[in-house]
Symmetry: C2
Subunit: 731 residues, 2 copies
């Protein structure tokens, strides 16, 4: 597992082949050489100019059907490049959908645009910390909501518990500084645990994080809406509707992609820090004027005895104020160089802010005698008491709502990245590897929004009942990340590993304790949902993984074992074409001299040079017609990787590579094939498409459906015959 | 147009080719002979036994995948026959759906079963007359409901109007006797008008009948439910729900097919006749005991002046009592021989019954002083007054409800037959030519039920507001049928044509008058819907027709015009394969001696030997592999017809014909191909499927989608490559 590579690229779908795989390809390829003409013969036989350099006036005319019209030679002499509008459909409805898409989410972005976004420390702090800092809006209240069950008199326990939480924050924060040190390319809990503890633990962390991200959205939106309804109580009845609209807006914004995020989201963070500072300072001044005697809290009847369990529950609830503390360590590459140093500095500032704000709010709430109630948040209550009901109060509430919105938004950045890493490790469908044309992981964004919206609506937009579900996933991920770091230091023993190990060990122990406390004390309150859900997610991921592993096993070319067993299986094991007669070679050679003798040729789209593709190529060769292989890559690097595999195999057939920098696959394929067809409409073009056929219906989502989509695109062209060569997976 | 052939067969999809078409096929075929080996070479080259006579143990083993297991030689030495369970899917869900289907609608029926149903006169009367006789339940009331608008005093006008309607019934009835004489194989308004007046008038009649059938269902169900709610007023609130359930039951019953209909539906008709006789006799006896002085009708405030218009409206409303009078003339072939004579006799009896019952009800209602009201039907009112409120009353209401149910059911027989005839003339999609596996026209049944249910629900299950819509369509069809007969007699002048022409002329004039009256007087009351709908239906049918005509034009093989123009078009006009080199012939001949030399062969499913199929065959031949053409026919006759076309073309390639007496097409194809594949799993089987690609999306419904469905069925077999050869229609 290539766990330590935590860069997100637009071309993760074609991994680099190792030497052994290349050697196997080569051995398979050698058996081809004997049974068919040399590549030069095939190349000369092609009845079309595969570089599309012919002077077709249609090619340069701006028309609805010409999406490779600006097709130009890339750096490499052999490449064609698809244009930004390659994804535009031929039909009127397709054109409309395309235009609507461009208006809503903006023009398509090149794959290379992904590297351009780097942030300074001040901006990065603003962009990466809302998740952590905004937790101050609900963390203290969650803690107090437990304590008040023992009567408002016991609210004073919030001071020692708050102090313990501050220590926890410090410890975990220091732990994540070590993560940055060890994973300077960024490493979230999933990557750290996978890398240091092994894939099983990584998967556990991943499952915890999936739950965590979904709940972050639900809780942040709920809390943000509560900040608004605290100020304007009449909106309370529309709470659920407001939240759902917010989630829809978040989805729309995130589908627009990475570029527009940063700067716009910086404001709320600093506003919120200022707001909390205002409340805390004003509150402390006011408390000071009363000689720091706590005001009498609103009387609240005790319904539980105060005891260890209650204190632990309050502690676990308050710990939700720490969500998001890991964000910076995941996102090291977004910093300007030196990335790791800047990230560490920013993390320290953030943890400092978090602790100050958290402790400040707990203190002010204590002196103010604030009590959790259904109609108003504690933060709203102390803001009201500290700064009055005027503009300052409104400012605090608006800042709180905005920062929670930004925090929910950060989950929309983190979740698709997590799925990307998990997809790279074959734990979730590969479609999460694909970036949309705005470089956003559209699939991940949608998969996050739906369950978050459902949970939000199911809990009627209330923060409090969601809190018990929240702590487990968060601290599970913390624990595994910190434990992973312990294993890392123990294994590598780099300079200064002892204090680092001690820091992470402390973090791991404290985080683990919170997981246990949360699981035990909150099981009945809803934590059981998470306790059930996490194993289910793990089981599902393992099934997906098992399928991908067996699919890779089945699809990887390897030299045929000699012996009688090879032919005994009913499964078609032949990956070489039948031996073509010498006259075929002769006829193909003649074709160049008399193109009118060519009646048909075959085009084989190849995504990966696996057995499915080799079967399709062998079938195409067996037709004894000219053959052209076609590959579409989202980046030049991936194109190069494909070309290496093709060379290793032996380069037996003409190959054309189209680079599609806007990541569309089907449209450039279809456009290219249509352009070939326009050159020689009198010649039948047979499209030979490899198609992976899965054994079970649910597995369809694990493979792309390019064959189906190509068929739909190219059926419109007369004279293009579409052939599907199925490759069956048995498990 | 073959309009006078009004027999419904299960194999109308492949019409007989005329001499000219056969000659054209032959000429096209001659150009094939020069460019490829003779059929015997192709035949010997096939690496499989196409008769499936090889001793494959799997073939006889009962297994989920073996649906041709009882494949046996038919009468003709060259035919295979599919079994009844050929439609059963391979998958578990497919098996479940199949079993459920068999439980719900019964086992599949052979195409030949269609001829078995013949009825005696008594049974036929019972089966064919409910539509007409049941109209007595709402016709008189519809008339009275108009008259009462001028105050209950004017209800006495029902006597002269009723008399006029009786004359109309007699005249139209006599007219339809002539239809039976001229169309002894059965001929409804659509066929008579098409045949005698021309296709435009036939289409007008067809559009009128489509509306008529839909309204028959809605009105009959509404009236039947009203018969129930008149007796049990508490059910009135559930009226709409009850009616919709009834429609669903009618659909389910009719999907079970023709066999179960007859006898079960005979009871209600005779019960209803008896019930009306009881009411009329008891009513008249009671009236006689009062000296035939009409009782005082319930006072009703006049809201309109009595005048010509009101009388005409009442007349048009009352005329709805004549719906269904044409049914017997449509269904002559269901009688035992001599069919025409029996049908005429039965029609006379029916018209006699209809007039007696109608006049009787009008009379009794008059003497009884019955007044239409919202809460109770007039029939219920007079039944109540004549026979009291006990068992006898209940019997009348039950019989009324049942006969109306049966009347609604008759529309489910007639409508799909109408669509069948219209589909044969290319006015509606060809899918209405296809009988389901129970020999019912499933598509027509469903297409009738949906709009009928929508209209029923939209009118809240009330009869009265539906009446104005009803009369126009009915009498439009009457008028056209009678006019058609006038033209028929005038043209043919058979023995005794003069009185026949006079009869039909009178019928045509009277019916036409009703159409005009209904259209004028009821336009505002809802008839405008029909006035708008009928032209819309005609326009739609004409578009469908235009597409089929141009598709036939494009698909019909004709010898290529000599001259330079033939190759100038960009459209691929070549329907001969490219000239194969001599060595291909040699190699194919060798294949027989060394079957291991054969690496692949092609199977081409051919439904009709049109240009799409010839293109596919030419493509298959161009692959220079062994080729087998495959045809599936629902009947032996159609198989024979196909074979004649194949012979005319020149019999250039091996052909296998599978007869599918249960009318499944895709399943036998798939099963046969799978059986071939099992013989030589080491040989790649290329399925070359002709696929018609339409220019506009809506036209897809006009062509079958066998290519798509075959692909879905055969993708499960490894080693079967599926090739689609598109044939494009440009309009």
């Amino acid at each position: 597992m290539d766990g330590s590579d935590s860069t997100v690229t637009a071309s993760a779908q074609l991994p680099e082949l190792d030497e052994r795989a290349l050697a196997a390809l080569g051995e398979v390829g050698r058996s081809w050489a004997g049974c068919m003409p040399a590549r030069q013969v095939w190349e000369r036989a092609l009845p079309v100019d595969r570089h599309l350099e012919f002077a077709d006036p249609q090619q340069s005319r701006a028309g609805r059907f010409l999406h490779i019209r600006s097709a130009r030679r890339g750096a490499d002499d052999d490449e064609l490049e698809a244009t930004a509008n390659a994804g535009e459909g031929d039909s009127r409805s397709g054109h409309l959908a395309y235009t609507l898409r461009r208006v809503l989410i903006g023009p398509a972005l090149r794959s290379t645009a992904i590297a351009e976004e780097r942030m300074g420390r001040l901006l990065a702090l603003a962009v990466l910390s809302p998740d952590a800092l905004s937790s101050v809006a609900y963390g203290p209240e969650a803690m107090m909501a437990v304590l008040v069950l023992a009567g408002s008199g016991e609210l004073k326990l919030s001071l020692p518990i708050g102090l313990a939480l501050a220590v926890l924050m410090l410890s975990v924060g220091l732990g994540y500084r070590q993560v940055i040190r060890a994973y300077p390319h960024g490493g979230g809990s999933y990557i750290v645990a996978s890398d240091s503890l092994g894939p099983r633990w990584g998967l556990l962390a991943g499952a915890g994080l999936i739950v965590d991200y979904i709940l972050t959205v639900a809780v942040s939106v709920a809390s943000g809406v509560e900040a608004v309804t605290s100020a304007i109580p009449t909106l309370d009845s529309a709470r659920v509707a407001i939240g759902l609209v917010v989630i829809v807006l978040l989805v729309a914004g995130n589908l627009r992609g990475v570029r527009d995020g940063g700067a716009a989201f910086a404001g709320p963070t600093y506003l919120f820090v200022a707001a909390i500072a205002l409340v805390v300072i004003a509150g402390l001044v006011k408390a000071g004027s009363h000689g720091f005697h706590p005001a009498l809290a609103a009387p609240h009847r005790a319904i539980e005895e105060v005891g260890v369990l209650l204190v632990l529950r309050a502690f676990a609830s308050g710990a939700t104020a720490m969500t998001g503390i890991e964000v910076i360590s995941n996102a090291v590459p977004v910093f300007r160089p030196p990335e790791a140093k800047h990230a560490r500095q920013t993390l320290s500032v953030m943890v400092g802010l978090l602790i100050s704000m958290f402790v400040g709010v707990v203190l002010v709430a204590h002196f103010d005698g604030a009590t959790p109630s259904g109609s108003q948040t504690v933060l709203s209550e102390i803001a009201h008491d500290s700064v009055g009901g005027g503009v300052a109060y409104g400012f605090v509430q608006v800042a709180t709502a905005l920062v929670l919105l930004v925090a929910a938004n950060s989950a929309f950045n983190g979740f698709p990245r997590l799925l990307y890493f998990m997809a790279r490790d074959s734990y979730v469908p590969r479609l999460f590897l694909r970036m949309g044309d705005r470089l956003a992981f559209s699939n991940g964004i949608l998969v996050l929004a739906v369950p978050a919206a459902v949970i939000y609506a199911a809990f009627e937009g209330r923060t409090e009942p969601l809190i018990p579900l929240f702590a487990i996933g968060v601290f599970l991920a913390f624990t595994l990340a910190q434990s992973g770091m312990v294993a890392h230091w123990w294994r590598h023993r780099e300079r200064g590993w002892r204090p680092a190990l001690a820091t992470n060990l402390l973090g791991a122990i404290l985080s683990g304790a919170v997981v246990l406390i949360a699981a035990i004390t909150k099981l009945a309150e809803g934590a059981w949902v998470v306790v059930v859900l996490v194993p289910l997610i793990i089981v599902a991921c393992r099934r997906v993984h098992a399928h991908y592993v067996s699919a890779r096993e089945a699809l990887t070319p390897r030299p045929q074992a000699p012996g009688p067993d090879a032919g005994g299986s009913r499964r078609t094991t032949r990956v070489t074409p039948p031996r073509l007669r010498p006259e075929v070679s002769e006829r193909l050679a003649e074709a160049q001299d008399d193109p009118s003798e060519v009646h048909s040729f075959a085009v084989v789209p190849v995504a990966v040079l696996d057995l499915a593709a080799l079967h399709a190529l062998a079938y195409a060769v067996s037709l004894a017609q000219p053959v052209l292989a076609l590959h579409v890559s989202p980046t030049a690097e991936e194109a190069e990787r494909f070309r290496r595999a093709w060379q290793a195999w032996g380069d037996h057939l003409p190959l054309e590579v189209v680079v599609s920098p806007f990541r569309a696959t089907v449209a450039p394929l279809a456009n290219y094939i249509a352009a070939l067809h326009r050159q020689r409409p009198d010649v039948t073009l047979t499209l030979v498409v490899p198609e992976i056929v899965v054994a079970k219906r649910w597995q369809r989502i694990l493979h792309n459906r390019i064959a189906t989509r190509l068929r739909a695109s190219l059926i419109a062209y007369e004279g293009i015959v579409i052939t599907t060569v199925p490759f069956h997976l048995t498990s």
